[in-house]
């Protein structure tokens, strides 16, 4: 089976599981995990295809969450439109900061993106009038289509997996086009890419911006679903969570990242005793993955020829 087919099947299975699962706690947990899946898919494009690292992706999730919430609360803009505007603004923001940042390499890029994430976090904490500061922001209207309101865990669960499908679809379309070929070339042999007409810097910036769009869109949905956001949901530790999910799943494997992200995003909620130690668990997972499956779960599966 091809990776895209396998991924669509997996998403369909998650969606269908909504008919079986009755427990709202689990539905809620997997919905939040599905939002993380969207963020990690964006990170896959950046990390696994363009080979660029971002330690500030939680910041983009936060931008999407805060901008869309503020638009809806302060300016009475329709929630859907708010999410779309917030995602577009965030990707334009990423375009502008990505332009100088993506000229940096390796550690410097990691540092720069880390700083961007921190700056967004600081703004969320300190612009109290707009964001509610560390107390958080609430009062977002519920998402609805006509008279149908997404007012239960179950309804949102179905909806969010459909959104995941759309983002997976976009990812595969891009990955399997000349754009994707160029990204893989940039990842491995940047000078060869340049010699065959790839505007390397432009591609990096565009993919950075696109991955920020994924993150912000997930952030917007998160805000309207929970009806409450605070800066701690978008801090450095969250950025690292996303990185670990992408790495353990396989940076260039959308399928592997999907599975691992659902597992890793759910684990601290199921094993609550782990919660305080999560950063340590995360670190261990990364080390174990690096030792035993350096290409992540996706690479492991490909190697075993089980699916692909």
């Amino acid at each position: 089976m091809k990776e895209n087919t396998a991924t669509y099947v997996l998403i369909a299975l998650f969606l269908l599981s909504g008919f079986i699962i009755k427990n709202p706690f689990i539905l809620n947990m997997v919905s939040i995990a599905a939002l993380a899946v969207i963020v990690v898919m964006g990170l896959n494009l950046l990390l696994g295809y363009a080979g660029q690292v971002s330690l500030g992706h939680a910041g983009f999730v936060g931008l999407g969450a805060y901008i869309s919430s503020i638009l809806a609360i302060r300016f009475n803009i329709n929630p859907w439109l708010s999410i779309l505007i917030a995602s577009l603004l965030t990707s334009v923001f990423a375009l502008i900061i990505g332009y100088p940042t993506l000229k940096l390499k390796g550690h410097y890029l990691a540092m720069a993106t880390l700083a961007i994430g921190e700056i967004i976090y600081i703004f969320a904490n300190n612009l109290v009038d707009l964001t509610g500061g560390h107390q958080g922001l609430t009062g977002m209207p519920m998402l609805s289509v006509g008279s149908f309101v997404f007012d239960s865990e179950k309804k949102f669960f179905f909806f969010v997996w459909i959104v995941v499908f759309f983002f997976a679809f976009i990812s595969f379309r891009i990955v399997n086009s000349h754009f994707g070929r160029a990204l893989k070339a940039i990842h491995e042999k940047e000078l060869a890419a340049l010699s065959f007409g790839v505007n390397v810097h432009l591609y990096k910036v565009v993919i950075f911006s696109l991955s920020a769009f994924y993150a912000a869109f997930a952030g917007g949905l998160y805000a309207f679903y929970l009806g409450f956001i605070s800066p701690s949901s978008f801090d450095l530790l969250k950025s690292i969570d996303y990185i670990v999910m992408a790495f353990v799943g396989g940076i260039d494997s959308i399928f592997g990242s999907l599975i691992i992200t659902v597992v890793l995003a759910s684990l601290p909620n199921i094993m609550t005793f782990l919660q305080d130690y999560w950063p340590i668990v995360n670190g261990l997972l990364l080390v174990i993955a690096a030792m035993f499956m350096p290409k992540g779960l996706g690479g492991f599966i490909k190697w075993k020829r089980a699916i692909f």
Binding site: E188, A192, S195, G197
Partner: protein
């Protein structure tokens, strides 16, 4: 510009720290000519290629391609002008199949943006790409390897895939950096034939090689470099008899 010169390299100099990798080198490639650039290891041949293709910036000098100053173009624009190359240390993308690697050579010819890709409007482009890739593979007789990955094919085939990737955009000038390095006798023979067939299609070729015999078999004109300097230029027979050339090779 002298009539008939497709590429003019004028007085190029390039330092790396204290090393003068290329030192005031000038020569031209005529249209429809196979020109060889030879010299011992470290002579500065690859550096000169990298300057022509914009990967390195020269300290001084000029490079004129079909009357255009190449230093005014971004490196990723050069392929559109009709210059394409291969690499001495093979630069195939491991994550791409042979087909996709060769398709990368057509990158600059594909005009579709992310939005049209997401909407699936690039399908006809992709069909054209596949057709061109298949054609060049048949031409180089590597069509059996289309769906293999680079780590699944023999070394000699990798060299041909590199050439296919450079050729698929139908360049006017092809730069080959040691295409015969690491090939066995049969593969070298096959390569030689391929180079002639490329030339028959009207493509000018500048070829780096340090095996003198290979070069005398396939080129119309030879430039010899040693320690960054051009030390000889002429017909293969002339250059082979040149005292300094022999000394540069023996001295190694």
């Amino acid at each position: 510009m002298e009539k008939g010169d497709i590429l003019k390299i004028k007085n190029i100099t390039k330092h790396f720290g204290g090393v003068k990798a290329v030192d005031g080198v000038s020569f031209s490639v005529r249209e429809r000519q196979i020109k060889a650039l030879v010299g011992p290891n470290g002579a500065g041949k690859t550096t000169l290629f990298n300057i022509v293709t914009g990967l390195y910036k020269a300290d001084s000098g000029e490079i004129i391609f079909k009357g255009k100053n190449l230093f005014l173009y971004k490196p990723y624009k050069l392929i559109n002008l009709g210059i394409s190359r291969t690499f001495q240390n093979i630069q195939l993308i491991d994550a791409l199949t042979v087909k996709e690697n060769i398709a990368l050579g057509l990158h600059s010819k594909i005009k579709s943006n992310p939005v049209s890709i997401i909407l699936g409007l690039n399908k006809s482009h992709e069909r054209d790409v596949l057709e061109k890739v298949e054609r060049v593979c048949r031409f180089l007789k590597i069509e059996d390897y289309l769906y293999k990955y680079p780590n699944q094919i023999p070394f000699g085939i990798k060299r041909l895939v590199e050439i296919a990737r450079a050729l698929v955009s139908e360049p006017e000038l092809l730069l080959l950096d040691e295409p015969a390095a690491g090939l066995n006798e049969d593969e070298t023979e096959l390569l030689l034939k391929s180079i002639f067939r490329i030339w028959e299609r009207g493509i000018s070729i500048l070829l780096i090689e340090h095996d003198m015999e290979f070069v005398t078999n396939c080129s119309h004109s030879i430039v010899v470099m040693d320690s960054g300097k051009k030390i000889a230029e002429g017909l293969p027979s002339e250059v082979m008899n040149d005292y300094r050339v022999i000394k540069a090779y023996m001295g190694e």
